[in-house]
Symmetry: C2
């Protein structure tokens, strides 16, 4: 339920589905630190294990979600999987409950806005209660180049990714740490049984995030292409990527090449990047961001190393880093909620 | 000196400058395992520390190189720095001693062949005694796409690199391990003092290999472009790259986009890659190589994930892995020596 407070600001009874997961934990912390107007809080997880979460000094038991329990909230964050979102979000939205889904289930669904508030926050409207947040990998490029795209029209975008293991969940961070510890004990790396990764990740990396389609593209590479076109609302941008998992705990990095329809000078691009919302742009080459330094609980996207590419006329290269759990997931969801609260 | 043996095969008195370094160690191992016809062996290092190396069961003391000492050899491997190569190699070559330099000092010098034997071994001629081996990063692409370039003419090449720390020397491997151990002790990563890297490398990566020029390109990115044009003997290929150091011990990986002048079907490219000398090509998407699995004492370059890129007509993407210390350095030098021996 949404209700007016003494001060006239709306408060939301909030449900978090996936509250005991890694993104759920970050989400609760952000709701608290950003002082989101939470009335009642309801915490849900799969229900397969007992879990408590903390919010504003109080402990909450997590339980398995039901439609009736979720419907008590005015706003539901889904930071769980596609299945759970599929089961509840459309019915809740139809019943008037705001649903912000961080899974990939509805991102490409017609009628569901795919939102990064700084980029396309205007898509948030009371008539569309189900809103999706994008894949954590493309978020950095979508934010960093939003202004450049608006002003100069990006026509070609090539992206090589350097994706942290936390993009695959909390257990994946443990897998990397355990494989490294095994190396320090035994002198060699062995893939943990049931690691969830197709290959060892300690001192290694692999160009596979998700399964492969008939064309040889991975699930992640297809998400990058399809989601960015939707977020930028421009089906004409040509996008290709290689998505690579690297032995980094947190923070996704992107090596990007882009071309624009309208000629852009280096100075004009620097100026545009300097005023792009949600972006911190470093103009000196040696000030580039890195995941360890700029990808841990950071609220902006970082970019640097803008330079001309020698491969095609009007082509540039740029380096982008963002926190895959904050801007790539939990923070973006909270920022969507803040826009809803401000409607 | 070169002398005929009983069997009529030439034997070489061999000097190794940088014998106690990481690449030097790999080089001695390869001379032995590949049964290179070594007569006398002379081992040199900076002379700043006592070091012994082993070769065919015997120990050799390393000493500081002098022209007179080096001139006793018929073939000198330089696996040291540019300064040492500069001081000795041209004079030795002029005096008739074969010099194979793995540093960057002469790679772009006119009259010095820059050689990967499988690609341009025909450049090795008795009239040019000083021969350079290329940068370890570009070697993978130079080998993997040599046949494709010959047949279809590569016009544009974009490369994002994932470079192992051993490309920066043996101490860099220790830096990564120590930073990781520090994390397991303290829970946070700190850059080692005098690590040689501009940023922490444990659970991190950074888009800087070498210093930056006025255009914002790094030294490594400039090497990639200039050296590949020379190796392929084609100044018209347009090349851009982002060179990134990653927390991998050994094995360089490349995410590559390429376009060709002559139209190439996927099948024709697969066929060409399947018969490219020095390359093992995986045609099934899920069989891609990784540095941990394919970058450790491996003699071939590995490639996989060939697919159409959606960014431009006739553009393809491919993933390449090679052992930066073997094919990228020591092995390539030994293969050059084998060609010399076969002249």
């Amino acid at each position: 339920m949404t209700m007016a407070t003494d001060k006239g600001a709306a408060k939301f009874d909030v449900a978090v589905v996936g509250a005991s997961g890694m993104v759920g934990g970050e989400l609760l912390g952000l709701l608290e630190s950003r002082d989101f107007p939470v009335g009642e809080l309801y915490a849900f997880n799969s229900g397969r294990r007992n879990a408590k979460v903390r919010f504003r000094g109080r402990e909450y038991d997590c339980s398995a979600p039901t439609f009736a329990a979720l419907k008590k909230a005015g706003l539901v964050f889904f930071v769980s999987n596609e299945e759970v979102a599929d089961r509840f979000a459309p019915r809740l939205a139809a019943a008037g409950v705001w649903c912000i889904d961080d899974s990939s289930r509805f991102r490409l669904s017609r009628g569901v806005p795919l939102v990064i508030p700084e980029v396309n926050g205007a898509e948030i409207k009371p008539s569309r209660k189900l809103i999706a947040g994008p894949n954590c990998t493309i978020t950095g490029a979508a934010v960093a180049l939003a202004g450049v795209h608006r002003r100069f029209r990006v026509t070609e975008l090539r992206v090589a990714t350097y994706q942290a293991v936390s993009g695959a969940g909390r257990s994946a961070m443990g897998v990397l740490e355990e494989e490294l510890k095994g190396y320090f004990r035994s002198g060699s790396v062995r893939r943990r049984a049931a690691s969830g990764f197709p290959r060892p990740i300690a001192f290694n990396l692999f160009p596979q995030v998700g399964g492969f389609d008939g064309e040889g593209n991975s699930g992640e590479e297809n998400k990058v292409r399809a989601e960015l076109k939707k977020i930028w609302d421009d089906g004409s941008v040509r996008i290709s990527s290689t998505a690579v998992r690297v032995p980094v705990l947190r923070g996704h990095s992107l090596a990007v090449w882009f071309r624009t329809r309208r000629p852009a000078s280096l100075a004009a691009l620097q100026k545009e990047l300097g005023r792009t919302p949600g972006l911190k742009f470093f103009s000196r080459p040696e000030d580039y961001p890195t995941p360890l330094e700029n990808g841990l609980r950071t609220e902006t996207v970082y970019a640097g190393r803008l330079r001309r590419a020698g491969t095609a006329p009007g082509e540039y290269q740029i380096w982008i880093v963002s926190d895959n759990l904050y801007k790539g997931a939990a923070l973006n969801s909270v920022q969507i909620a803040e826009r809803i609260a401000a409607l």
